[in-house]
Symmetry: D2
Subunit: 345 residues, 4 copies
């Protein structure tokens, strides 16, 4: 049994880790921390978990957690993990950070966009970017995994087959993303209120959203060349789900059939990527699951290639991917506890 | 392996049976019928099932289905099962009907409310009402199970502890229910359109909804005495979920603590019933699951007892309960394939 | 021109006052206060008002407001108006309070349910309960109007014809109300977040919600006799709208036709009450408007009478009714600026 | 008084014409047709109109309508207006078509994309494209106005200042649009059901949606040069609203400030266009109104210009714009009956 600790367990990604872990046959949850809710039963904050766990939130220090656990998940605001990761690693335990602190190779990039100093350059050097479909082998041996952002996950999985095959112009890639409100977390802010979001839709933080450099870092790595993108996130009046629509200019003659084959082949062995040939992805088709549904479409009139990808931001975009990473790190079958069918309708 | 057939598999309850059965470790789905969609892959109508099944809809006759299967689920309009159930039973196979055709002891009652002739009185005599928490033993030996209606399930589970203990007035019970739109099925009707339902809420078919006599039959059986209720269903702008609020007049002095104990004790051994002591049920806490969350509250000022129960209408209110019944009928552990944690948020 | 001031203008009822007043032909808005947002343009908090007004939030004291204005609206938490109303009245100006502070005849009742001391007994004595359909004449001469609560408005308008005609049992009245989330205001609270409310539905504060004594006070006044009710509010996943379903026991033989006539006759001259004979109210049919749609239905099997009423909680349940009161108080045609057609779909 | 007839009045655009016309001080509605609902009171299909009109749907022929009316609105499927427009014009009356039949200069274009023969080339020649902000003068003298599509309205108003100033690359314009479900009309189709749309989001008909050539025709006319665009519509889980995000490549050095001034200046005299400088458009800020909110943003890192525009698809995207056109055609103040404040929240 893998012994697990969760730091920052009262938010939506924390709750989603719990939802997916309470039934995981090879996991034992040792501790879930929340400073604010210390002492409360976990199910008071997550009523879906009633009868599944008797855990209460506690407020132990990282070193004590490191003693109890084989792996720690951190679901905390950026900057906070710098005070945790070194402790866990020095105790010889593993860590998966669901935040942005360890996602960047170039620490200047991190500091510019996140406006805090990076306090753990050693950790950054060692950390592996936790996108299993691209970096499975490195994740298997990692002690510190930086779980990808939700928008980047949808963009990277959607673009990888094009970028790695050199068939699109690397300038002028446009990424129009739409995310459900749970992506903003469980914090109290005006823009997350039901009365503000419901029946509404709007772009935000565009251009200039913090996920831009994370996307560019991955796109550049795949393409083997510096890539700049225009990225615009929008807020959908749904709880879960990200749908990303990307627009590329084809640099060679290619047919719809060839594109379909390219994607099908690229993801042939990936359980969690489903390529849509005859229809287009929709977020409800992946709701509650770790799947990423992808379609690629050629606009013959303009030689543009449109790629659409859909994920559940709390699962493949956060906690599900984290568990996928954990499974890989501990040699557990990769899909364990992640095979549930999406909820439809 | 239990071999399963589904008749009428393209609607929401059919899709929900599929969602819960494709991962059931002791089930093999042999056939899913749909006259309209014959030949189409099942995942075209249920995009969540993409990569889970290669089944296509077919249009076989009941006798052929009876040959292939150990059990048949019927998810068809009322009146239709009369042409199916006798065939299945004569072939020595079992059937769970998700419709209303076999729910009534008193066939006049059925004919009055459903306005069709009952064409299988023998079947009606043999059929068992499939509410496991009340009739588990009889279900275990049944060949024909009438799966309860969604509203009745929520009302009966909520009221049973009070009715069976003789502590409420049996006249003047008021049942105010609210259901998600998926309860109206996948048929094309104006009142199910997004633009009509969204941001809306309204009662419908009240008084006089067809689930009234089903509720009264069960309430009367539990109370041991004729019960009449006022029942008003309402349409919620959510996809899944029923929340039922019931109002009773207490006929004896009782405290909140005693009520809580009564409910806790009554459902002590029931995996799928969760009694809420410190909080009130909400439909999101049972979303996608087979749970029924229940709270009982005393209004000391008026000696009224309020009971609130919440289910997912497609799971405990339909397909989940059907699978629970199937598990019982075949001696499979009752919660098999139904232990998933509700989706929250 | 009536000169108007609004205290507490940054919440939803404040915004709704502004929406309805900026186009009011006989009104000039002099000042809108908000301590938090002082100096900000009003349209920054209410983007619908962009181009309609150049007002900014200010933070003037009540006495200064009294100087500038003929009437002041207070949209503030309960207890706060005690520091404002006396100032306005002593300056000889009028006030409409959208809160609960002046709604009660019996101050003990107020103090018991709201858990604060009533600091303005003289004001309470003078205040008129601002439900125009019942108290139009008294409102016309009032200097201090207590605008009714949203739930009470829907319940009282729905019940008045029955209560005033002595045809229902005054014991055991059950009121099951469902409100949109905007009824909880624009405050930051977990239970108002989109991710918590969307796809959800639940009762709250029941039994024992603060609107209970307000409903009982009005019911008793109309019936001429002490009335106790069971009242259970629920939270709907919609922004606007309250639908209230009430259950009464008929104490005499009465037909559906007589009930329809009773309601039609009772509200014959009321522009804002629409009696539904052939269909049932729905909240979308009154969305954005000052209407209250009402239906009465006899359940012949049980001699129960079901009444359904629907309002927009921010309009007839708050700001629209406040403007209706203002119109009456200043001799302006009562429907001025309130004749807009509800938004459908 | 302008005498008005509406052909095809039972759909959402028909209902929206009625909502906006029943209170229009210079209009008298003479007739609303619906073959299906002939004889029914209009409010039965539009419960918001209860007490506003005693009209019933009728089924008169176009010639009879032409006799009674000064102007006829057609809200019918494409191809149908060819049987109506000639009759109305020959009778010397005016017509505004809310469909696509008269929107195209190049009839081949129409026939290719809409797959029907254009049966009224004379009408097409005479018709004026009814986008008042661009073609006000020509609309004033028109007898036949082709009301623009909803997506094109949002795209054209958003792009016009850039296109007419020659500061963007005309190749590679990307238009990512998101529309509420009411845009699909009131027809019964699976993809419009609440249970399919709610909590969902997906692209559809892309690339290759029929509004593409309409957008290209207008963009080309404004730019004075052939323009091709990539256009991808998506379905939002909201009833009303279109938000369009467009991506352009700047062909000259330009600053954010200059872009803001360009837009502000371009729309200085337009009541219905509101330029957002410090914030971004959102659909709720225009809900129920004829406004188009627009923001332009420079992405300095990539020299891309992002334009965001928001309209209510049933108002500025259909019926409101039609009434705006009617006002212009009859010399009525252009904003008459269209000055209502958007509903927020």
């Amino acid at each position: 049994m893998v012994k697990v600790g969760i730091i920052g367990g009262s938010g939506y990604t924390g709750g989603e880790l719990l939802r997916l872990l309470v039934n995981h046959p090879q996991v034992q949850i040792k501790s879930v921390t929340s400073r604010t809710h210390k002492g409360k039963p976990v199910w008071e904050l997550f009523p879906n978990l009633r009868s599944f766990t008797e855990l209460t939130f506690d407020d132990v220090e990282p070193d004590s957690l490191a003693e109890q656990c084989d792996i720690v998940f951190t679901a905390v605001p950026h900057g906070v993990t710098f005070g945790i990761a070194p402790v866990i690693r020095h105790a010889g335990k593993r860590l998966i950070d669901l935040g942005a602190d360890y996602r960047f190779r170039d620490l200047d990039n991190y500091e510019t966009w996140y406006k805090v100093k990076h306090e753990d350059p050693d950790g950054a050097l060692e950390a592996v970017y936790g996108l299993p479909e691209l970096l499975r082998d490195r994740i298997a041996g990692a002690n510190l995994v930086a779980n990808p952002g939700c928008y980047p996950t949808s963009a990277i999985l959607g673009a990888a087959p094009l970028l790695s095959n050199g068939i699109v112009d690397l300038q002028g890639i446009t990424i129009d993303s739409k995310s459900g409100v749970s992506g903003s977390g469980r914090n109290l802010r005006l823009s997350s209120l039901f009365s503000e979001c419901s029946s509404n839709f709007n772009p935000y933080g565009a251009p200039g959203h913090r996920h831009t450099p994370e996307i560019e870092q991955a796109f550049s790595a795949i393409a083997g060349e510096e890539v700049r993108v225009t990225f615009a996130p929008h807020l959908l009046p749904v709880v879960r789900g990200i749908l990303t629509t990307m627009y590329f200019l084809a640099t060679c003659d290619i047919t719809q059939k060839e594109l379909d084959e390219l994607y099908t082949e690229y993801y042939r062995n990936e359980y969690f990527v489903r390529v849509c040939i005859s229809d287009l992805p929709e977020i409800k088709a992946v709701q509650g699951s770790n799947f990423c549904d992808i379609a690629v479409r050629l606009d013959e009139r303009t030689q543009r290639i449109m790629v659409v990808s859909a994920i559940d931001n709390l699962v493949k975009g956060a906690s599900g991917q984290a568990i996928q990473n954990m499974n890989i790190m501990f040699g557990i079958e990769e899909t364990t506890s992640l095979r549930c069918v999406p909820i439809f309708p």
